[in-house]
C-alpha cells in the first residue's frame, strides 16, 4: 500500500473549503476573520518549514542534532505553558523545563529502548515524532494543571491560611490543590482514551494508516502512544507543580507575591 502524494495545486483546492468558516464568521458577526486568517497562515507556513526541516533532520539523523531539536521543542512548550499561567517566566523557566524534559525523555527513551525494536534510540523518526506527540499533550495538561493550582491557591487563600493555622504541614495544606489540578489536567486525556476507536480515530493512527501501514500496526502504535501520553502528562504535571511550588511559595508556606504577574 503506497501513500498517494497530493499535488500542491490540489492542496490549494482544500483551501476553498475555508469559505465556509469565512461565511459563518461574516454572517454571525463573530469577528474572527483576522484570527482565522492569521492562524491558517501560521499553520501553513510553520508546517511547510517543519516539513523541509524534518526532511533534512531525517536525512542526517545525527544524535546531537536530534537531541538539540528536542531541546528546542521543549523550550517552546515551556514558554507556552508558562505564558498561560500568571507566573513570571524568569522565575519558573528552569523548574518547568526540567519537568518537561524528565517526563518526555524518560518515556520516549523507554519506548525506544524496550518496546520499539530500534537499533538507534536517537533515531529522528521516533525520537522527534514521539517526543513531539508527548510534549504537545503534556503542554495541554500543564496549561490546565499549573493554572488551576496557583489560581485556586490565590482565590482560596483565606481557606488555605485557615488550614495552615490548623497546624497542617506544607504537604498537607497543598495536597488538596495538587489533587484537583492533576485530576483536571488528566480529564481530557482519560475521556478521549475511553472513547478511542469508537468516537475518535486518533491522529497518530490516521497518520500511520495514511502513511501506508496496516491498521494492525497502526493500532499497536496508537496503544503505545496513549500509554505514553498518560504517563508523561501525569509525570510532567506533578513535577511541574512540585518544582515550581518550591519557588512560588516561601518557607513559611505563604504564596510569594513577587513571582506573579498581576494580569490574571
Amino acid at each position: 500500500m503506497e501513500t498517494l502524494n497530493i499535488p500542491v495545486l490540489s492542496l490549494a483546492v482544500a483551501f476553498i473549503l475555508l469559505i465556509i468558516p469565512v461565511v459563518i464568521s461574516i454572517r454571525y458577526g463573530l469577528g474572527m476573520l483576522k484570527t482565522l486568517f492569521v492562524s491558517i497562515v501560521r499553520m501553513s507556513v510553520q508546517l511547510a518549514l517543519i516539513g523541509i526541516f524534518l526532511k533534512y533532520l531525517f536525512r542526517w539523523n545525527n544524535p546531537y542534532v536530534n537531541t538539540g531539536w528536542i531541546a528546542v521543542m521543549i523550550m517552546v512548550a515551556v514558554f507556552s505553558a508558562v505564558r498561560s499561567s500568571s507566573i513570571k517566566i524568569s522565575r519558573i523557566f528552569l523548574p518547568v523545563f526540567t519537568s518537561f524534559s524528565v517526563a518526555t525523555l524518560t518515556v520516549v527513551f523507554y519506548l525506544n529502548t524496550f518496546v520499539i525494536p530500534l537499533d538507534n534510540v536517537f533515531d529522528a523518526r521516533y525520537l522527534i515524532v514521539l517526543g513531539g506527540m508527548l510534549l504537545g499533550n503534556s503542554l495541554r495538561g500543564n496549561i490546565v494543571g499549573i493554572s488551576t493550582f496557583y489560581k485556586q491557591l490565590r482565590t482560596d487563600s483565606k481557606h488555605y491560611l485557615y488550614v495552615l493555622s490548623l497546624g497542617a504541614s506544607r504537604r498537607e495544606a497543598l495536597l488538596p490543590y495538587l489533587r484537583e489540578s492533576i485530576q483536571l489536567a488528566l480529564k481530557p486525556t482519560l475521556a478521549s482514551m475511553a472513547t478511542m476507536g469508537i468516537v475518535t480515530l486518533p491522529g497518530m493512527m490516521t497518520g500511520v494508516i495514511l502513511g501506508g501501514a496496516s491498521p494492525e500496526v497502526a493500532i499497536k502504535y496508537q496503544i503505545l502512544i496513549m500509554i505514553a501520553i498518560v504517563v508523561s502528562t501525569v509525570t510532567s504535571v506533578v513535577l511541574t507543580i512540585l518544582l515550581t511550588e518550591r519557588v512560588c511559595i516561601d518557607k513559611c508556606g505563604i504564596l510569594r507575591a513577587d513571582v506573579f504577574t498581576n494580569e490574571k
Binding site: K158, G167, S169, K251
Partner: protein
C-alpha cells in the same frame, strides 16, 4: 507568652504598624481595640507567619518566629477569623480533615457536645459548608478551634454575627478558661466590659486597663 518587639509592618508602601511593642503573658485575656482597618488583624497574623514584619521580631514562648519555627508555633495557636473560609464539602468532612492532620491526631474530635453547647443542630454535620449561615459558620469554627485543644486562642471579631445570648455564651466560655491565653480583636462590649480582660489601645499603643 507572646511578645512583639518594635514591630514595623507595611503593605504596598503603606505603613500598617509602626514601632509597636506588646507583651501578652500566659493565661491573659487581652482585647486589642482600635478603629477597623487599622491593622489589628495583621497583628494576629504575625505570630502565625502569615505576614513578616519589615523590622522588629515576634517571639512565641521565647522562640523567635521564623520560617523554621513557625510550623510548630502554628500547632500551638487556635485561630478564628470573622470571615473564616471553611472550604467545600460537608461539616463532617471538614471535621475529619482537621482531625486527620498530623498535628491534631492527639486530640479527641467529638464535636457533638460542643455543638449542642453552642446551639448548633447535630444534623448540620451532614450539611454542606456552603449552606451554613454566617452565625453557624462562626460557631462551627469556634467548635473546631476548641477541639484542637490548644492553649492559645486568637479570636478576630468572632462574635460579630451572633445574637446577644450567644455572644455572652462564647465570651463566657473563653474568658473562664483560666489556663488559656486569649488575644481578642473586637469592638463588642461583651468582651470589653468584662473585668478579667486587659484592653490594649492599638492606635495609642498602650494599655487602657
Amino acid at each position: 507568652m507572646i511578645s512583639f518587639e518594635n514591630i514595623h509592618l507595611s503593605f504596598d508602601g503603606k505603613n500598617v504598624i509602626q514601632n509597636l511593642s506588646l507583651k501578652i503573658n500566659n493565661g491573659e485575656k487581652v482585647v486589642i481595640s482600635g478603629k477597623s482597618g487599622s491593622g489589628k488583624s495583621s497583628l494576629l497574623s504575625l505570630p502565625l507567619g502569615f505576614v513578616r514584619p519589615d523590622r522588629g521580631q515576634v517571639f512565641f514562648d521565647g522562640i523567635p518566629v521564623n520560617e523554621k519555627t513557625v510550623w510548630d508555633i502554628r500547632k500551638k495557636i487556635a485561630c478564628i477569623d470573622q470571615d473564616v473560609s471553611l472550604g467545600d464539602g460537608t461539616v463532617q468532612e471538614l471535621l475529619d480533615f482537621v482531625s486527620d492532620l498530623k498535628a491534631n491526631t492527639h486530640s479527641v474530635f467529638n464535636a457533638k457536645n460542643l455543638m449542642e453547647f453552642f446551639h448548633l443542630d447535630i444534623d448540620l454535620l451532614q450539611n454542606s459548608l456552603k449552606e451554613l449561615s454566617g452565625g453557624e459558620r462562626q460557631r462551627m469554627a469556634i467548635v473546631i478551634a476548641i477541639l484542637l485543644n490548644r492553649d492559645v486562642f486568637f479570636l478576630d471579631e468572632v462574635t460579630a454575627s451572633l445574637d446577644k445570648h450567644l455572644k455572652n455564651k462564647v465570651a463566657d466560655y473563653f474568658l473562664s478558661k483560666e489556663d488559656c491565653t486569649c488575644v481578642i480583636v473586637s469592638h463588642d462590649p461583651v468582651w470589653l466590659d468584662n473585668s478579667v480582660v486587659r484592653v490594649f489601645d492599638f492606635e495609642e499603643k498602650k494599655w487602657k486597663h
